[in-house]
């Protein structure tokens, strides 16, 4: 247990610096983008000079960049994410409203790509070079090469427009007043297409890693020993080879979480899913700096937490890693 605690402590200290860099970097990037929230607002309304001045003042945009950054950091110290200019609501509420949807989408898609990817990887890696191995490799790489939005659109056309098996988008039936299990089933139905679009893209990654890992483990002495012992091929594959090949995949899972978040921006737009990714896109278009900072901060925390969990899991799965970390 101390091993995990040391890891946790070291990570927390490091994370604070990471978050600070993320915040300041994002803030500066957004400031460098031409146009501010008032310019973005004017697109749909127009307005005279007096009104523009009024809005800049109301939204605090007449203050210098440094003052605004300092104010933001000061508020953040008090765990206050501030007020969104476009929503005129506390940013914390806006984000908390969207976070579960994105998490659900991410976790489901990760489960799909990790679960199916590693299973197929085992299936392919059990007989390297066989016909099924090649077929799976080519198939998964083709999926990997396809842009996410395109895959999403094709799924919509086939399954929602032509066959009408599944809803076209959204996270649940609009204004349906469903509750409990009905609602859960409804949400699950709506998730099938976006989760597939997001999950299938990353499937290839796990499949290839699993397969490559297995190929390497096959050559290890203990596999030879297991074969010499007369164990069945099935048992060797599952208990010895696949299990050892699984370890790098767990690391990948952590790294992949950041990419998943990025991918969800596109998928959320295509499927009209009201998640964090789409919110980020809207925040950029509206130049809603505090809102975007809030979203990036949330995402950064999310990625850090996931990687931490992965490392802790890893430390338990593979004692060699944890010992090395704790020793330094």
């Amino acid at each position: 247990m101390t091993r995990a605690l040391t890891l946790l402590r070291r990570r927390l200290v490091g994370s604070i610096f990471v978050l600070l860099i993320v915040i300041v970097g994002t803030f500066l990037l957004l400031e460098a983008a031409p146009g501010d929230a008032v310019d973005a607002y004017m697109v749909s309304t127009g307005g005279d000079a007096g009104m523009i001045e009024l809005l800049r003042h109301r939204w605090g945009l007449d203050q210098s960049e440094l003052t605004r950054l300092a104010n933001y950091l000061w508020a953040l110290l008090h765990l206050d994410l501030g007020q969104s200019v476009t929503f005129s609501r506390p940013i914390r509420d806006v984000i908390l409203e969207r976070l579960p949807t994105t998490l659900l989408l991410m976790v489901s898609a990760t489960a799909l790509s990790f679960g199916l990817g590693s299973a197929l990887g085992v299936y392919a890696g059990a007989r390297p070079g066989s016909f099924r191995d090649r077929l799976l490799s080519i198939g998964s790489l083709a999926l990997y090469a396809v842009p996410g939005f395109w895959l999403g659109l094709v799924l919509i056309v086939v399954f929602a427009v032509d066959l009408r098996w599944l809803p076209i988008g959204g996270i649940e039936t609009l204004a349906s007043d469903k509750t409990g299990l009905d609602r859960a089933a409804d949400i699950a139905t709506h998730l099938i297409l976006p989760v597939s679009a997001l999950g299938f893209i990353y499937l290839a990654l796990y499949l290839r890693m699993m397969r490559a890992g297995m190929a390497e483990v096959w050559r290890q002495d203990f596999v030879l020993a297991a074969r010499a012992k007369g164990l069945s091929r099935r048992r060797i594959v599952l208990a010895h080879v696949a299990r050892n090949a699984l370890l790098p995949l767990v690391t990948m899972l952590g790294l992949q979480s950041a990419q998943m978040l990025g991918g969800s921006v596109v998928i959320e737009s295509v499927f009209s899913v009201p998640g964090l990714g789409r919110l980020a896109q809207e925040a950029v278009a509206a130049r809603d700096t505090p809102l975007l900072l809030g979203i990036i901060l949330t995402s950064a925390v999310l990625v850090i937490v996931i990687n931490l969990l992965v490392d802790i899991a890893y430390a338990f799965l593979d004692p060699r890693v944890g010992a090395g970390e704790a020793g330094t």
């Binding site: 127009g46 000079a49 056309v157």
Partner: protein
């Protein structure tokens, strides 16, 4: 669409349409509207402030016009192009110093309180004049609103204000909000801005960010038997392709404001059960305009501007960029405006040879590389069509030896670059014509506007004669004289080309056959939909 050959079937169809459209208002259509049902439609953006009295924009009206009503609405056949809503009549004094509105009796706010002239006075003085994007201009001289009784509101102006302007402004600028809700606290921070309370046929139900807006029937509505629908749901569909798919999958019944891209219309019109409608937006005309930075020495030369005008093939633009869903423009007032438009203006036929000759004459000869000079071209990113026209314009300019470099920005960056930083030579913009040139059209060419005001003359253009004409028109009270001045305005703009008007377009609706009473007024998508119904 193919030239002048009209098939017998088309002929029959169009005459039937004509018959129907003229017969409908007088005799009523044979179809009796059904009661009940839920209309689900696509919404491509989510306005945060839903108060149309503060934000007079189509995005807000699209949703709020069903909840909050105006004094009058645009109409195809009403007197002066108007139909009464909260006001039954409007009368302007001869001296231009007052306008008297007689209000509808027995109207109730959604919270049950009675609607009175005090609400109109409050909205005009506390909201439209100081806070509304358009009202700040039109109602700038409004000094007081007298309320001799509950059903009479008399607008008093400090300076003579043309009654024609006030009348034309009614459909877009006169949303009435309840005084008893807004008189407490700051108007901009009132929670009712996000959950409006009005007198309209529908009440605000709920808003789920990123998902939908729900409006529910107002059972206490003043219109007899109206509204027909039980509910209206605006489904938020941010992706450009999703509205078409959602219509085909029968998840939505209507997509307004060209939510279905023009390129998909041909295909979707062949889907059984769906209809494509280009009517119902006559009062919401957008103008495709080339904005010019006159600070650039070459562009300050009228000959160069004329050359650019001659280099643009407007018919090609209408056919290719707008796929026929637009009209060519002659000047700053669109052809479909019934009051002000005049065709009697200098025109610029598509003529590359003449354009080249004009540029030679101006002294800008082609260099060794065939170019005369180069400039920066910024197409506004708000519409597909403005971006596509940017690509076309680049090629059209290349043909006359002007090398245009395209600069593509997102909306906020474009607004800043053109209207604040003036970092453009040519820009493509889509200004809106709002029924009267004084609302948002003269500002496009008038001088003396502070930096940073969007959709205004930020090209450094200054023409004293034109400024004088605009000033005179703004204080001319007689409708005929005022109209004549704006005709003269169109002539002068077309002659001096402070900007180049290329085309005029509006939006397209796609709906299921079951949706009834679509497009029955010139601002249908932003009107109250009290008579919209669904056949079962």
């Amino acid at each position: 669409m193919s030239g002048f050959t009209i098939s017998r079937r088309q002929m029959l169809a169009s005459s039937a349409m004509l018959l129907a459209s003229t017969a409908m208002p007088t005799f009523g259509w044979a179809q009796t509207p059904k009661k009940g049902g839920r209309l689900v439609l696509a919404a491509d953006s989510e306005p945060r402030n839903l108060n149309p009295a503060i934000v007079a924009s189509n995005g807000v009206f699209f949703i709020s016009s069903k909840i909050v009503e105006t004094l009058a609405e645009a109409s195809f056949d009403g007197k002066d192009g108007l139909a009464p809503r909260l006001a039954l009549s409007w009368e302007g004094a001869a001296d231009g110093l007052s306008v008297t509105f007689k209000l509808r009796d027995g109207v109730k706010w959604h919270d049950g309180k009675p609607f009175t002239s005090a609400d109109v006075a409050f909205s005009a003085l506390q909201v439209w004049k100081p806070l509304q994007n358009l009202g700040r201009t039109v109602f700038k001289d409004l000094a007081a609103v007298d309320t001799p009784d509950d059903l009479t509101a008399v607008f008093k102006f400090a300076k003579p204000t043309p009654f024609q302007l006030i009348r034309n402004a009614l459909p877009a600028l006169s949303s009435v909000v309840p005084k008893h809700i807004y008189e407490v606290g700051k108007i901009e921070d009132n929670p009712a801005n996000n959950a409006p309370i009005g007198t309209g046929p529908f009440k605000f139900g709920e808003y789920k960010a990123g998902q939908y807006y729900r409006l529910t029937k107002n059972t206490d509505y003043w219109g007899k038997d109206e509204p027909y629908l039980d509910e209206i749901i605006y489904q938020v569909l941010p992706d450009r392709t999703s509205a078409a798919s959602a219509l085909e999958a029968e998840e939505i019944q209507l997509a307004a404001f060209s939510a279905v891209p023009l390129a998909d219309l041909d295909r979707i019109s062949k889907v059984p059960g769906l209809k494509v409608i280009s009517k119902g937006y006559e009062g919401l005309t957008y103008q495709l305009v080339v904005e010019i930075n006159h600070r650039r020495k070459e562009l300050a030369d009228l000959k160069v501007r004329q050359a650019i005008a001659h280099a643009i093939d407007k018919d090609f633009v209408v056919k290719t960029v707008f796929l026929g869903y637009a009209a060519t423009a002659t000047g700053p007032v669109p052809k479909n405006d019934p009051q002000f438009y005049t065709a009697d203006v200098p025109t610029y036929a598509f003529d590359v040879a003449k354009a080249n000759a004009l540029l030679d004459e101006a002294g800008y000869r082609r260099g060794a590389d065939g170019n005369r000079f180069s400039l920066k071209l910024l197409p506004a990113p708000y519409f597909n069509e403005t971006k596509q026209f940017g690509d076309y314009l680049r090629q059209a300019l290349a043909a006359i030896g002007i090398d245009a470099q395209l600069v593509n920005n997102d909306s906020a960056a474009h607004i800043k670059a053109v209207y604040t930083d003036h970092a453009f030579d040519l820009a493509v913009g889509p200004p809106v014509f709002r029924g009267d040139p004084a609302i948002s059209t003269t500002i496009l060419v008038q001088s003396g506007i502070p930096d940073g005001v969007p959709f205004s003359n930020q090209g450094g253009y200054k023409n004293d004669a034109l400024d004088a004409l605009i000033a005179k028109a703004s204080e001319t009270l007689d409708t005929t004289a005022r109209t004549d001045l704006y005709k003269e305005f169109q002539k002068q703009v077309a002659a001096d080309l402070p900007l180049i008007n290329v085309a005029e377009w509006s939006f397209i609706s796609v709906a299921r056959d079951t949706v009834g009473n679509i497009a029955n007024n010139p601002r249908w998508a932003v009107s109250n939909w009290a008579d919209t119904y669904l056949e079962s």
